[in-house]
């Protein structure tokens, strides 16, 4: 386990015991990443900040139930945030607005790229992940990007690409496997 994850687990454990300072530290460490993910999904700063608050409130309430075997605290926070944003998109019909926004960003090959990549300082890790994504066969990359960056379900991806559901499922599975191999330490 890397030192950052060990420190996150330490903070989360203290938060589970009622330590607000430790929880505030955890917020400092990951709120920007989580808010970035939320803004990219819901495209609305105010709604994203509401979701950020809900996500961390859930983390506080469920800190005791966190299990290291299911992933790092950072991954746990990202999963909770994405799940909330996706629920919102799917339940409130925000999809229509989102689809328009995503549609305007379609890349030349028909895929949806990470937002404003060029504007941010690309560190080594980010470059490695982007390179791994670029290295995927285009049909696998399309499916993963629509699911990850646009929050589409496999059914919605299948509709969008006019492909059978089974094809989309296996493209996502194969793409994720390749990504895992490419990013293995």
């Amino acid at each position: 386990m890397d030192a950052e994850t060990a420190q996150d687990i330490r903070l989360l454990t203290r938060a589970a015991g009622g330590d607000r300072t430790a929880f505030a530290d955890l917020f400092e460490r990951h709120a920007s990443l989580v808010l970035g993910v939320l803004v990219s999904l819901v495209r609305d700063r105010a709604a994203a900040e509401e979701l950020l608050q809900d996500t961390f409130l859930q983390a506080w309430n469920e800190a005791e139930r966190y299990r290291a075997v299911r992933g790092t605290p950072r991954g746990w926070l990202v999963m909770m945030a994405r799940s909330r944003a996706i629920d919102l998109l799917r339940s409130q019909g925000a999809r229509m607005k989102r689809e328009v926004a995503v549609g305007s960003e379609l890349l030349g090959d028909g895929t949806v790229g990470p937002v404003g990549t060029g504007e941010i300082e690309a560190d080594e890790r980010r470059r490695a992940v982007l390179a791994a994504l670029q290295g995927l066969p285009v049909e696998q990359r399309q499916c993963i990007e629509l699911a990850f960056y646009a929050g589409l379900s496999h059914r919605q991806v299948a509709d969008r690409l006019e492909q059978p559901l089974g094809t989309v499922k296996s493209r996502i599975l194969l793409g994720m496997r390749r990504l895992k191999e490419a990013l293995a330490p």
Partner: protein, 259 residues
Amino acid sequence: MADRDLNLRELLPLYALGALEEPERREIEAELERDPSLEAELARWVAQVEALAETVPPVVPSETVRARLLAALPPRAASEGARSWMGWAAAAVLALIAGWLAWGNAGLRSELETRLSERDAEAIRAVRLASELADTRARLERLVLAHEIVAAPGARGVRLAGLAGLPGAAAQTYVDPGSRRAVFYASRLPPAPEERTYQLWFIADGKPVSAGVFEVGPEGEATLLVEDVAPMDSIQAWAVTVEPEGGVPQPTGEMVLKG
């Protein structure tokens, strides 16, 4: 069952991406509770989603959001209890001191009362904090150790299935062959019967060896860390039996999980 299991495993990356709809999403969540071996596999896909999240530009939240969140955190039930207990204890100490001081010099009473009550409140607080710290440290050490075992190169998982007595229960052990330590996770276990306990065993070279007794949490979950397990190749099986409180050197009770 094997096909269904395979399908569920194949859906894990889609679940991690948030690409599943109901009822598949709920089915995966139920299966994760039932089968701890899926959890470690899910962690590998969550790591990919975490990596994808790093490709999105971070957005710094406003100070208002941070302040609003920290103000909205509900108090922990346990620390509230501790506080009220502390308040009660401090009040009792103060009452005793006040009673005693009623006999003493009125001029010194006020200052002495303040100093003594401060000292006693501090002492009570120190005892409570030391106990909380010890609990937190122990829990943290267990979490870190469990994570190290599961993530160790060459770690091997064995799935235990509930037997006739507990068909809904499931468990998993992971052994790190390097450190010869193991971690055991179980789910959907009912509390052990009165004056009984669950005991974990590994069968090495045909003989059962106790790996320790364990308690079941409020949601039917249990975790046990095991030191000095036999070399991985000599372990033929893992099992859980129900034994008298405190455990026994050789299994005597009903076997409820095996794998």
